[in-house]
């Protein structure tokens, strides 16, 4: 019985960590920068494709491939930010929605042209395969790895954003662009940097999550709801929020699947519904000081 509990806890948390890894980039571009970037999944998908292609076609090992993919997508993020995104910083959220949907359409088509309609297989290194048996519980190695890796990323982000003024500057620039400039913040560079970081993280999430959220041209549309839920439940502009949100949703999802498999998705949505009714600004919100 207790091994079941451990299992649920572990699977829930590790699934939550997958949600976190794939969504945290959005909590930066959308939560911090205030850009309704529905195209977040595009960067995650490209990260996944780049990782897979480097591994399968060029034989690059997993971690170097992941790193290279992040760098490539970050660069792409920079370029897109300079060319396109920055034109819409001042636009209404509706225009941003339209813009990011356009990007999704384009990238879906391009991914299909280059990689075909099928999902891309990702061959993880041997040592991340299979499972470890721990006091009667079966623990898939990769999930354990994700749990550790995700914690490290979360800690790094927290140190980088909450403990420095970087995050405060970004929020200031988002809230009042003109005034932020007037106190000496180079908003242009700041946004480019932040956006690059957001896309880089998206790519990382895409590559790491590829095992569970399969990389195919439909990716940006298929998982958009997951990303949005995490950011909404976590709370805009917070760095810790999305982590808590992911873990809570991961746990709740896992527990309902185990306890009431018939319930299906209804319970997950009901759960999110209740969470948001309870705390409309998200779990960690900047609204309530």
């Amino acid at each position: 019985m207790s091994s079941t509990l451990i299992n649920i806890l572990f699977f829930g948390l590790s699934y939550g960590m997958i949600l976190y890894m794939t969504s945290v980039g959005l909590s930066i571009t959308m939560g911090l920068m205030g850009f309704v970037n529905l195209a977040h999944g595009v960067f995650a998908m490209l990260g996944g494709y780049a990782t897979v292609t480097l591994m399968n076609s060029l034989g690059v090992p997993f971690f170097p491939a992941l790193l290279a993919a992040c760098i490539m997508v970050t660069v792409l993020g920079f370029v897109l930010e300079r060319l396109l995104y920055r034109r819409l910083y001042g636009a209404t959220e509706l225009d941003q929605v339209l813009f990011s949907m356009a990007l999704i359409f384009i990238s879906v088509a391009i991914a299909r042209i280059f990689w075909g309609p099928l999902a891309q297989p990702i061959a993880l290194p041997k040592y991340l395969h299979g499972h470890i048996d721990l006091i009667g519980a079966t623990i898939p190695t990769y999930r354990l790895f994700l749990l550790v890796f995700g914690s490290v990323v979360a800690a790094a982000l927290w140190l980088g954003f909450d403990r420095t003024l970087f995050g405060a500057r970004v929020r200031a620039a988002v809230e009042d662009h003109a005034m932020a400039e007037a106190v000496g913040i180079n908003t242009d560079r700041l946004f480019a940097l932040t956006f690059g970081l957001g896309t880089g993280l998206a790519a990382l999430g895409g590559g790491l999550g590829a095992e569970i959220l399969a990389i195919s041209p439909g990716y940006p549309l298929q998982y958009i709801i997951f990303f949005l839920i995490v950011v909404a439940v976590g709370g805009l502009g917070s760095i810790k929020g999305p982590l808590y949100a992911s873990l809570i949703i991961g746990l709740a999802d896992t527990a309902t699947k185990y306890i009431m498999p018939e319930a299906g998705m209804i319970f997950v949505f009901a759960f999110v519904f209740l969470l948001l009714r309870w705390r409309p600004q998200g779990i960690v919100s900047r609204r309530k000081g």
Partner: protein
């Protein structure tokens, strides 16, 4: 001139169409009829466009006028479609107008229910709640295979002839005129609504809801009323859809549909009812054309067109048209 004229156009600080140019308002309707006269084989596409315009207009009341951005509007659309469809499939009521009315009531109730749960929140939280509300109904319809047919869709939906006179034929003639008239009636209704004190107060809510409550408006009730009206009309759109295609499937409740209609609305320009009339046809004609030219890669072209529009026609196609229109007006002497 301090008093705005009665028109569907005044959007976010946009000037209205001058009274002398009011005949312009008839153009889209004549255009629609003209297209049909010239190419009756396009009737099915036109019908679907009308349904989507109707749906998008109901959404505009929320998004454009009240400032409520929802990604769950299909919940009401699907409710309307399923209610009409089930009534007909079971053979309980097959008269199109009767089923449409019942579908509207049902969708209005669903809107009232979800709205009352969600409308105390705003922004992203509301957006996600609306997504959840749509998903909710979707999952329920998916599970209730006995009633809805699950994802096989609802079978055997046959409506009796419209007003006892016109059969819904496979060429889609009846469907075309039926959806046209329904759209027209809805438009007239919505136009009245947005120009009424109620409609103005919705714009007030959009602009500054805290101020609205300070001048004595019960924001929540006001929003809920708007939400219920929009839901009712979305239900009508769903019912018309069910009647014109004789089929109802789960996708009428889907997140994708909610997203697509929002995109079409933004594309046309929100906050003036005509936005839907521009956005939907442009989107759907482009989609139809591109998908036929290149069934596998039309997404690419559609994306590129959207991108160009959003970069160069901020605020929707209608904004662009308006800017051009007013530039012309100004240039002309007198």
């Amino acid at each position: 001139m301090t008093r705005p004229t009665d028109t569907a156009l005044p959007g976010k600080g946009m000037p209205a169409i001058p009274a002398s140019k009011r005949w312009l308002e008839a153009v889209p309707w004549l255009l629609a009829l003209g297209t049909y006269a010239a190419a009756p084989q396009y009737a099915p596409l036109l019908t679907q466009i009308f349904v989507m315009i109707l749906f998008a207009m109901s959404l505009d009341l929320l998004v454009g006028y009240t400032g409520i951005v929802t990604l769950g509007h299909a919940a009401q659309f699907g409710t309307g479609a399923y209610v009409a469809g089930i009534l007909a499939a079971r053979g309980w009521i097959t008269d199109p107008t009767m089923t449409a009315v019942i579908a509207m009531v049902a969708a209005g109730c669903i809107g009232l229910f979800f709205g009352s749960l969600m409308l105390r929140t705003k922004g992203l939280a509301f957006l996600m709640l609306s997504v959840a509300s749509g998903m909710f109904l979707y999952e329920i319809a998916n599970k209730a295979t006995g009633i809805t047919g699950g994802d096989d869709g609802l079978q055997g939906v046959v409506f009796s002839p419209l007003l006892g006179l016109w059969e819904f034929d496979f060429r889609g003639t009846t469907a075309f005129f039926y959806s046209f008239v329904m759209l027209f009636l809805t438009f007239i209704f919505l136009r009245r609504v947005v120009n009424s004190p109620f409609g103005w107060s919705l714009r007030g809510l959009r602009e500054n809801d805290l101020r609205m409550s300070a001048i004595g408006c019960h924001n929540y009730r006001r929003r809920l009323t708007a939400y219920t009206i929009a839901s009712t009309l979305a239900g009508l759109a769903g019912a018309v859809q069910a009647q014109c295609t004789g089929f109802v499937a789960l996708n009428s409740l889907s997140f994708e549909l909610s997203g697509a209609v929002l995109i079409m609305l933004i594309l046309g320009g929100s906050g003036r009812l005509y936005g839907a009339m521009f956005g939907v046809p442009i989107y759907m004609f482009a989609q139809d054309y591109l998908a036929k030219r290149d069934p596998t890669n039309w997404f690419l072209w559609q994306g590129i067109i959207l991108l160009i529009l959003v970069l160069f026609a901020r605020g929707g196609v209608l904004s662009l048209a308006e800017r051009g229109f007013h530039a012309c007006c100004r240039r002309r002497p007198g």
